[in-house]
């Protein structure tokens, strides 16, 4: 049986960091940038599409300057609402502006081994196991490819990773590791096999793609070509800016928003020019660099503000948003991880970002930790409980119970308490024990989270993938490997 997903719905706390007028100004500045400075599109196909629609294309520098009206017109074709489909339809995720879904982070390179506790290179088995744990957790609504399957050939790695997720979970898969046209074609074929054909995939996209822009003001050729392939097949595609204030973006957050916005909306406009009505989404993980080292920080007050500001932009364009939250810069699940992931997630969720990414990775999206994964889910649970707000109706005002208990009584045994106590948030990983109990054991949240992850991994059996479909996926990957002239990889369990 597929597990239920329990997302944040209709947040009741409102956070607003940009006024309508400010959004308008950011939009106007963005159009001016696209029109006068331009954005680099290093893909012959992309340049042709722009040119055919009347944009100015510099074949030398590959920079496109597009009139604001063209960009606006193209963006207006994007659907406002659609659903990310899952292998199990009960786990489909409507992107309707009311829900906030969480997913794992993507593309880590090392794993803190669940058994030995040691840090080691990531492999295909990890992708499979993380997907299995994610399949179990009700906070995880869909998957990113959490770590790279480094024991598979580079040419087919992104495909092995997808197959491993689908073999271990019925939930939607979104990948950021398909960045070439060839891999995109194969990934679409695989998704069609899962969905039951090309038409079925168009109706129920079980796969979505996430491509990166290159700040400042550039796209990547392979990523553009992959995105166009996805859009043709009706597979949702998003572009993510990682503009970093003071390095790849201006030092002022507003300036960094403009640069990133120009990258994202110009890419989305291209997709809409090529495939009017294709499902697209805005994606972002802006940050501010560490001024002492230039490092991508992945946490800090500017990040939290970006998390809240970006949804105002995505809403303005009427497309869903996938926002980088969680994804702490900390080296282990510690106070820094708690603060960064708590605040980034609260801000991005309160403004109704449709998708939140970043569960489980440490050290700026490099090291996977099951402990962090479970703790991030706890953070999501806390934010979810907060965003439910406070219900105020007759039942919640509890006058009847207050009358019954009267001055000086207790509510512990009142029927009203029994009716409502389960609505109160319950901690799994806060230490609320007596001091002495802690002193005796000296264990902590990380230990409990690790134990829980082990237990889930040992006991959770995801709904198996139809062996016929699994064989189809394997055949598609094998064909890609033959074409590329590389040896295949062993299948994960």
């Amino acid at each position: 049986m597929a597990r239920t997903i329990d997302p944040i719905v209709d947040p009741r706390i409102e956070v607003r960091v940009l006024s309508d007028d400010e959004v308008q100004r950011i939009h106007a500045a963005t159009l001016e940038v696209i029109e006068s400075v331009g954005v680099r599109f290093p893909s012959p196909r992309a340049l042709e599409i722009w040119q055919a629609h009347g944009a100015t294309v510099d074949r030398e520098t590959l920079v496109v300057r597009a009139p604001g009206a063209l960009v606006e017109e193209a963006l207006a074709r994007a659907p406002h609402e659609y659903a990310l489909a899952a292998r199990d339809p009960s786990q489909d995720l409507p992107l309707d502006g009311r829900h906030v879904y969480a997913a794992t982070d993507g593309c880590g390179v090392e794993v803190l081994d669940l058994v030995t506790g040691e840090r080691r290179r990531s492999r295909l088995q990890d992708v499979a196991e993380i997907a299995r744990v994610g399949d179990y957790l009700d906070e995880i609504a869909f998957h990113w490819v959490a770590v790279s399957a480094q024991d598979t050939p580079a040419e087919s790695r992104g495909l092995h990773e997808l197959a491993a997720i689908w073999a271990n979970s019925t939930k939607h898969a979104q990948t950021e590791s398909i960045v070439t046209e060839r891999e995109a074609r194969a990934a679409v074929e695989m998704a069609a096999a899962i969905a039951g054909g090309r038409e079925a995939l168009r109706r129920r996209p079980v796969l979505s793609l996430m491509e990166c822009t290159i700040s400042p003001l550039a796209q990547e050729g392979g990523a553009l070509d992959a995105a166009l392939v996805a859009a043709e097949a009706g597979v949702p595609v998003g572009f993510m800016t990682m503009a970093s204030a003071a390095f790849t973006g201006p030092a002022t957050p507003a300036g960094t928003l403009v640069v990133g916005n120009a990258e994202v909306i110009s890419a989305l406009a291209l997709v809409e020019l090529a495939q009017p009505g294709a499902p697209v989404y805005y994606a972002a993980a802006q940050t501010a660099i560490d001024l002492r080292s230039g490092a991508y920080t992945g946490g800090g007050p500017e990040d939290f503000l970006f998390g809240a500001a970006t949804n105002a932009l995505a809403d303005f364009y009427g497309v869903p948003l996938s926002m980088g939250s969680f994804a702490t810069g900390a080296k282990e699940p510690d106070w820094q991880a708690g603060i960064e992931n708590g605040l980034s997630t609260f801000m991005a969720a309160a403004v109704r970002s449709d998708m939140l990414l970043g569960v489980g990775l440490l050290h700026g999206s490099r090291i996977w930790s099951y402990e962090q994964m479970l703790l991030d889910c706890e953070i999501y649970g806390i934010v979810r409980a907060m965003l439910r707000g406070i219900a105020v109706d007759d039942e919640a005002l509890a006058l009847e119970a207050i009358r019954r208990v009267g001055p000086g009584g207790e509510y512990l045994t009142d029927p009203h308490t029994v009716r409502h106590m389960r609505e109160l948030w319950q901690s799994r990983f806060f230490d609320r024990r007596p001091y002495g109990a802690w002193e005796e054991k000296r264990d902590r949240a990380r230990d409990w989270a690790r134990a829980r992850a082990r237990e889930i991994l040992a006991t959770h059996e995801p709904d198996p993938l139809d062996p016929v479909v699994a064989a189809e996926l394997a055949a598609i990957i094998a064909a890609v490997e033959r074409e590329a002239g590389v040896a295949g990889a062993a299948a994960p369990t």
Binding site: V109, A154, I214, F247, G294, A295, R366
Partner: protein
């Protein structure tokens, strides 16, 4: 006496231009030094380099930030470019710690970290040839031969491209440049263990470590930090 004073004022202005990260001013002062007949090597060593050293010190103490460091390095580069023709004419060679060829390996377009490493190496006194991003394996070898490099630096930020670091080492070996030309590697997925596994001579987790390891490889570990 007066000329001494003016040249001292000139040297002071040179240092200042680097500390202020003012490349226009640095180039202007370099030109002024040439016109005044100041020895171009002295202009570098007693003028500009002193400023760069101060920036380097303050940067490592955390008093100055990366943008200031980069601006100082840029100003330094402009000043040296103005002085270079005169150095060549006098057949003088600016003493460099070593020559480094650096680039982001084929398939990889991450450049921020590589650029930082290149800048810091240059600021530390290396002659740096930056090949940019998505650099074919042969290109590293070609360039290393052309400039008689001591060190080749290979940056990779993707698990799919880090294997290219091994290929660069193999290609250098096939070209007969190993073990004379040393190889240093770095980038997000790169670890000390990986560097050892592929037979690299050095690994740096950040730009400061890149400088330390490069200095060690050219036997300059104890020399004063520039």
């Amino acid at each position: 006496m007066t000329t001494e004073m003016t040249s001292e004022a000139l040297f002071e202005a040179m240092r200042r231009s680097i500390i202020d990260g003012d490349d226009e001013r640095a180039a202007e002062l370099a030109g002024e030094a040439l016109r005044a007949g100041v020895d171009p090597l002295r202009a570098i060593d007693d003028g500009f380099v002193i400023g760069l050293r101060e920036v380097g010190d303050r940067f490592s103490r955390g008093d100055m930030f990366l943008p200031e460091m980069m601006l100082a390095a840029k100003a330094m580069k402009r000043a040296v470019a103005v002085l270079e023709p005169e150095l060549d004419r006098r057949a003088m060679k600016r003493q460099v710690l070593g020559r480094v060829v650096i680039g982001s390996v084929k398939g990889d377009i991450h450049e921020i970290g590589k650029n930082l490493v290149a800048t810091m190496l240059a600021a530390a006194g290396f002659e740096v040839h930056d090949l940019g991003v998505d650099v074919p394996f042969d290109r590293f070898v070609e360039k290393a031969r052309e400039v008689d490099a001591d060190i080749v630096g290979v940056s990779a930020l993707l698990t799919t491209t880090m294997t290219g670091q091994r290929t660069v080492i193999e290609t250098l070996a096939a070209g007969g440049l190993r073990p004379r030309v040393k190889v240093i590697v770095g980038g997000a997925p790169v670890t000390r263990e990986w560097a050892e596994e592929i037979g690299a001579d050095g690994y740096g987790e950040d730009a400061a470590q890149a400088v330390t390891v490069a200095r060690r490889l050219v036997g300059a570990a104890d020399a004063a930090v520039v």
